[in-house]
Amino acid sequence: MTNTEIEMPAFGETERDFSAVDKVRVVEALSRVLPAGTLMYETEDLRPYECDGLAAYRALPLVVALPTTEAQVVDVLRICFELGVPVVARGAGTGLSGGALPHTRGVLLSLARFNRILELDPLARTAVVQPGVRNLAISEAAAPHGLYYAPDPSSQIACSIGGNVSENAGGVHCLKYGLTVHNLLRVRGVTIEGEIVEIGSGALDAAGYDLLALVTGSEGMLVVVTEVTVKLVPKPQLAQCVLAAFDDVVRAGDAVAKIIAAGIIPAGLEMMDQPATAAVEEFVHAGYPLDAKAILLCESDGTPEEVAEEIGRVRAVLEDSGATEIRVSRDEAERLKFWAGRKAAFPAAGRISPDYYCMDGTIPRKRLGEMLTAIQAMEHKYGLRCINVFHAGDGNLHPLILFDANQPDELERAEDFGAEILELSVALGGTITGEHGVGLEKINQMCAQFTTAEVRQFFRVKAAFDPAGLLNPGKAIPTLNRCAEYGRMKVSKGHVPYPDIPRF
């Protein structure tokens, strides 16, 4: 055995077996530290927590804990550490990759009651918030000061900031304003050993390693977040949106590259293909041109002078790129109408199909044409339709695979379809997930993106925070054993992934 193998935690080799966890003992220990009404263990009380935004994967936890203070979180984690019980932290449960799927032998730790904005300092442009605070609630509280919290994932009315930290959430404006990781100053959290850690500070950096970056997007695998300090930024005075139609998808993709090459970083740059446009048009009547093979939405924000200058430049580039139609929003109502269609893409998919499966691969923009052509071929191969919406500015693609879970094997075909898109994303020089996280959903594709040595290093990083491997086990980073099995799985057709997970 080499050194490398000695240092890798055993839970990185094979998932830990938690079947010996004794529910009675866990309930008894937790009820000593949690007040009545904050600990649930009857099946009917557990049911609302059985899945997150990825409803295809469901599991009942052993218990649900709903602490209201950090001291209770410390107590819960200490007990779980002592008893060797897995812990899955959960915010609003809007995640799309199964990151908050409960562990059947573990505690589901809901931070929903940590829902207060503790401090908002307009001069320093910071807000100190509890993890259960909704993303949009921060911007609403900051609005009277002319400030807002920039990352705006599409679920922002519901998703919590703690979940945003765990997933490093993005949004339609992140090309210009950054992801969650760019908009945080500090995270306070508790380790599985019950130690309180202050990561980052009210300053722009902290002494030592950049643990703030490491914890952001770590999918609840390193610490449980109990407090977050976010940056607030000034609200732009004006925003205006350009809608451009193209008779060819690749030409639309080229137009995106030309906008960037012209030195413009738009506030938002989105693309939809014809099937996506048709689906949303029927639903929200945004006035999209239905004969276009693709449409682009390009938003400019800033001072009125800045916006006028930028829109002029964008228009010139789009004309030069062969747009068949260009419309510039004349007022706020029209701008919102342009966006209404894009924002309704997911519900529209739900309207034209009983179920849909959303992918999240990111690719270099120049490979877009190849990807879309390949997706068309996959539609035939799997006998399923796919509509495409795309954060074009940063290469983040959201193909929505339409299926009907009540039809035999459609879910399975949808999953295989999705897996093929993700693996192609890696092959094209991209990644399997731009903003939704790996969770349980994409865990097998991690084996395609990373080498064994890299996976080992991820587990060592986890062990630096969580030596016993109790925080969200089985998510985000695949065990070497799983990757070995997946290697076999890819060749054995008809094999159902994760047979241990109930399906609906």
Binding site: R125, L204, D205, G208, I265, T362, T431, G437
Partner: protein
């Protein structure tokens, strides 16, 4: 793997087996930074070259030993730049050194730090394994964000073989404005302006003078300059000013015997330090340089009291604490992380903290 990567991996494995400490070194322009470290000098300058540069993707992938002075003109030719405005501190500054030092220039408060522009890294770890984290795309949440962790780790986690950095278009227009203001007035002004939709790209206060740089679209810079008033600097004088601040070539950074240059990183609204010494305030109030001979304990205590941390940046006792000491739980996590990347403890031991 390239030949250099293979050779270096072998050298690292041999050093790990023999527990020989290695002092990782690029251009050596930041040798002054961090604690003193012993060890065999490992010269990283041979690993040079731009691996891929796609201006329309806003990404450059470059080998660690590439001098910043070679990379920056390549970007400039396409109208792009490193928006964190890295200080060079000497002619030979390399990309890997820039990332490992994690230092950012005057634009930091408005545009972001080195870590904010890190998209991916290729790292040679202490086992002699080549590992890749992140990638070449803007959005990537697969796996822990190790590439940003490497920024500012001072070479203690591994050898940076290659990095992918986000690049941005250079602003079309710039203007620098000058105002006479005392420290408290300048701090207030910087924070107030920071909360308004103005195209700020740098702020600087020293000795009763606040200077503010605006960068962006022609119309936006013009409108903001008209609104803020002040005295406008000529373009060449402005360029010289910001470069001398970035490189710490400006007069207030010159140290008298016995003086130490401290870097205090604080919440931007922290009040005046009230410590003896010469001060330069940057980053909207969030970075305060202090040339002082005051007792280090007093400076650290004041930084902590104000909600930030203090670093001995130049001069002083480099065998003691250079960076603000960590709390016990964070120190444990740091030790474990260091060990996980470099089990034999051969990379720049002690450069960051004495324990590792």
């Amino acid at each position: 793997m390239t030949t250099i990567e293979k050779d270096w991996a072998e050298r690292v494995r041999a050093a790990a087996a023999a527990k020989t400490p290695l002092c990782l070194r690029g251009g050596g322009t930041k040798d002054f930074h961090g604690r003193e470290t012993a060890g065999e000098v490992f010269d990283l300058r041979a690993n040079t070259g731009v691996v891929a540069y796609e201006p329309t993707e806003l990404v450059v992938t470059v080998r660690g030993g590439t001098p910043l002075a070679e990379l920056e003109p390549v970007l400039a030719e396409k109208g792009q730049y490193l928006a964190f405005e890295p200080p060079h501190f000497g002619a030979g500054a390399t990309v890997a050194g820039c990332v490992a030092a994690g230092l950012s220039g005057p634009r930091r408060a408005n545009m972001g730090a080195v870590r904010d522009f890190m998209l991916g890294v290729k790292l040679l770890d202490g086992r002699g394994e080549v590992l890749k984290f992140g990638g070449q795309v803007m959005k990537n949440v697969a796996g822990y964000d190790v590439s940003r962790l490497v920024a500012g780790s001072l070479g203690t986690l591994g050898i940076v073989l290659e990095v992918s950095l986000k690049v941005l278009p250079r602003p079309v227009a710039e203007a620098t404005l000058r105002f006479e203001l005392d420290e408290a007035g300048a701090l207030r002004r910087m924070n107030e302006w920071g909360g308004q939709p103005l195209p700020l790209s740098a702020t600087l206060w020293h000795d009763g003078v606040l200077q503010v740089r605006l960068s962006g679209a022609e119309a936006a810079v013009r409108a903001a300059a008209d609104r803020l008033g002040g005295e406008r600097l000529a373009a060449d004088a402005a360029a010289a000013l910001w470069s001398s601040v970035r490189e710490q070539a400006a007069a207030p950074f010159a140290l008298a015997p016995g003086e130490v240059l401290w870097r205090l990183s604080l919440p931007s609204t922290a009040p005046a330090l009230g410590l003896a010494g010469r001060q330069v305030v940057e980053w909207g109030g969030a970075q305060r340089w202090l040339a002082s001979a005051t007792d280090p304990a007093q400076i650290r205590a004041r930084a902590a009291e104000l909600g930030g941390h203090a670093t001995v940046f130049r001069g002083g006792d480099r065998s003691g604490a250079v960076f603000q000491p960590l709390t016990a739980p964070l120190a444990t996590i740091h030790r474990r992380l260091k060990q996980s990347f470099d089990p034999a403890g051969i990379f720049n031991p002690g450069r960051l903290y004495p324990e590792f």
